[in-house]
Amino acid sequence: MNAFELERFVGRRLRALPAPRAPLTLLPRVLAAARAWSQRPWYAREWFTWPIGWQVGSLALLTAILGAAAVMIPAAQVMLVNAATSLAGAIAFDVPQVAESLQVSTSAMRVIWRALVQPFLPYVFVIVVLMCGACASVVLALNRVVFGRALHS
């Protein structure tokens, strides 16, 4: 059977197939979805289904916003540059003060670490290890009891 014969043969058989019928659940499903959609307020639906007045109004508003943005952007750029320049000046003025306060807080933290935390670190480590060991042994014991029961039952 060559390709052309195969095409005709399969095509004939496929066309003879009865069309699959929609399940009985489809119609109620579609009607319920349509009812739910109808109950939504118009502004919660797709834009192309809005009332024509609102479509025109929203388009006009969008155009106005875009137009205003196009006009305002150059002015906003100038304002932004001015603001950035003045901010940079203020930061440059404050840099020594900020650096000084940073140094003070770093030294304070270092002192606290050496005096309060460092001496107790080995003890804390030992306590953590002991707690982990205790937890592991409890888990093992529970496991043994539970699985032991499961095996016996």
Partner: protein
């Protein structure tokens, strides 16, 4: 007749056509039902234009086809998995025994024909998507090879090869040399 009644009769009139197109393209009844609902919801949203239009059937077919192709490209992996699982279970609802039994032939012939149709329908659904989709578009949707290649964004050669391989599989299933 209210709008709701008109829409109900509209869905009743076209649901088999939309579902048949969807289930053959998707190979999965649950997905086909979802797609059919999506298609009818789109029709509902434009029911004032679509409902009375004489081209409603063509519009529905086109929207169903496009929705199915979008669905396949979006959920390809998941769809493959479920179509494989689904092919193992029976797709018996897909058959229309009443229509077959209406023919004037013996009961044995009818049963044999039903079985043959069922086997072919299952084989069609079990084909991998890259073979079944172009095959369905060619034989059921009457698209040309070039139109299928354009719709699926693949080369013309690939479409021809895939359709030929799909046909070979179906021929083997039908048990014809």
């Amino acid at each position: 007749m209210t709008d709701a009644d008109q829409f109900e009769s509209f869905v009743g009139r076209y649901q088999d056509m939309v579902f048949a197109t969807a289930v053959r393209l998707l190979g999965n009844r649950a997905d086909a039902e979802d797609v059919a609902q999506t298609v009818f919801m789109r029709a509902f949203q434009r029911f004032a234009e679509i409902g009375p239009s004489p081209t409603a059937a063509g519009w529905l077919k086109m929207v169903t086809r496009n929705t199915c192709l979008n669905h396949l490209s979006r959920y390809r992996r998941r769809w493959r998995l479920f179509s494989e699982l689904g092919s193992a279970s029976a797709g018996d609802e897909a058959l229309n025994p009443e229509a077959l039994l209406a023919a004037e032939s013996s009961v044995a012939d009818d049963l044999e024909r039903i079985e043959r149709h069922e086997r072919l329908e299952r084989a069609l659904r079990a084909l991998p998507d890259h073979q079944r989709v172009p095959l369905v578009l060619f034989h059921f949707e009457d698209l040309s090879y070039q139109e299928i290649a354009d719709a699926l964004h693949v080369s013309l050669g690939k479409v021809k090869t895939d359709i030929h391989r799909g046909r070979e599989v179906l021929r083997q299933v039908m048990g014809e040399a």
